[in-house]
Amino acid sequence: MADSEKKSARFVYADNAATTQVSPKVLEAMLPYFKDKYGNPSSLYSLSREAAEAVEDARAKIAELLGARPNEIYFTASGSEADNWAVKGAARANMAKGRHIVTSKIEHHAVLHTCKALEKEGFEVTYLDVDSDGLVDPEEFREALRSDTILATVMYANNEIGTVQPISELAAIARERKIPFFTDAVQAVGNLPVDVKELGVDMLALSGHKINAPKGIGALYIKNGTRIKSLIDGGGQERGRRAGTENVPYIVGLARALEIAVARIPELERVRMMRDRLIDGILSTIPHSRLNGSREKRLPGNVNIAFEFIEGESLVLLLDSAGIAASTGSACSTASLEPSHVLLAIGLPHEKAHGSLRLSISHETTEEDVDYILEKLPPIVERLRAMSPLYEDFLRGKQVHST
């Protein structure tokens, strides 16, 4: 445990959607490739063949776990890189056919900002609305597809509110129209069964650090035959499609982590039950709170609740003092003052979007952790409300502030 974790009586890590600890088994699998088996997989001698074989074994294992072929798996340095590659790569490869892209308003920034960047290059993007649960409507999706649509991309599960989209249905609609379909499955992999063939997607992105592999490794599934340009040109690595000396330890670690995560999926029923206990416990003890995202179509570990009259950062900081690591909105945008685009998209007004808390639990979470959160959270919310002018106004029966 790091210093900071010792301060309070208990440390409860409830931010598994932001990142996870590297598991001992994954670290063990990686270590030999730093020290002894350090060859460059592209070289010719035995030391390198060991490294090359480790990479190919990892690729084969990941392919098997996702229902893909080994030559359909490409390693990247992050979920973000995989997202950028899929979206920019497919868009630029199909430019001659059209310049229209369909996506949703609640994608991760790695997809959303990539779409914005493509708009500056002359692409046109339709950002589909979602309903109050965060779901894309397949009919709206179908209607958004045009004859010049060259890519559709909808995330599998949302990182903030945990909503799980009907991907196989959406992919089938795109397939009918012969439009390549990409899904950002960074939050889904390891939490839901993921089989690329069953889903019927053309591309799928995942990230290691959400499943107890390190930060800085990801993978992109590219179905054979999919047209895509490279994002990183150079050496012949990854069959000439993604240059850069292979990160052998992390590649080995990713395969090991995915293997463990997929084997554990049946156990997540327990996590789902803890999640529901958290949701029910919070909603019943803290007034003026509401669940964000779908109650049913929801990641097993995701809890996202909006508390009126208070702001998320101060909530997270006070929870931290109590030994609880949580987040407000997407971790990536906490440095900015924008309220979460996801919460706005599901219809929250700005002031409520500011007061959202995400607790993301995992197989490592215990019932005691849940008890601890349920004990610490209400007084902290109460304390912040006590110093909130909005709450003061509310109690006086005045209208809540708004523009």
Binding site: E313, S314, L317, S321, A335, P339, M387, P389, E392, T403
Partner: protein, 145 residues
Amino acid sequence: MAMIYSEKVMDHFSNPRNVGEIPDADAVGEVGNAVCGDIMKMYLKIEDDVIVDVKFKTFGCGAAIATSSMATELIKGKTIKEALELTNKAVVEALDGLPPAKLHCSVLAEEAVKSAIADYYRRQGREIDFDIGCDGHCDACHNHH
């Protein structure tokens, strides 16, 4: 990147000074709005142009709470004239700095003080001869980057 707050900021956030209301305040100022994510409300008790008591309520991030707390400390016992000289820079310095993304909070704190004093002037029928600052629009008081 994580907000790396100074120890002073964390202290004023965790143990904010002068939180609360003054029911019979001589002046009340409120700046910011919930859309932007910060609202500061400041209550002043003033005797002979001296701020004898001050309280605040803030809806906002850690820095918003800490700057409110620090600003109230810095004007307590000061004359109105002295309080009007409080700059956001002084608040930031007293807190041993703020992350760049959070500088707007110190601006808001300065404005909360000015807004309260403006209210005092108004109640006294005095002419407001200083700039109140924030016009209530996000873009005006937030230096996005």
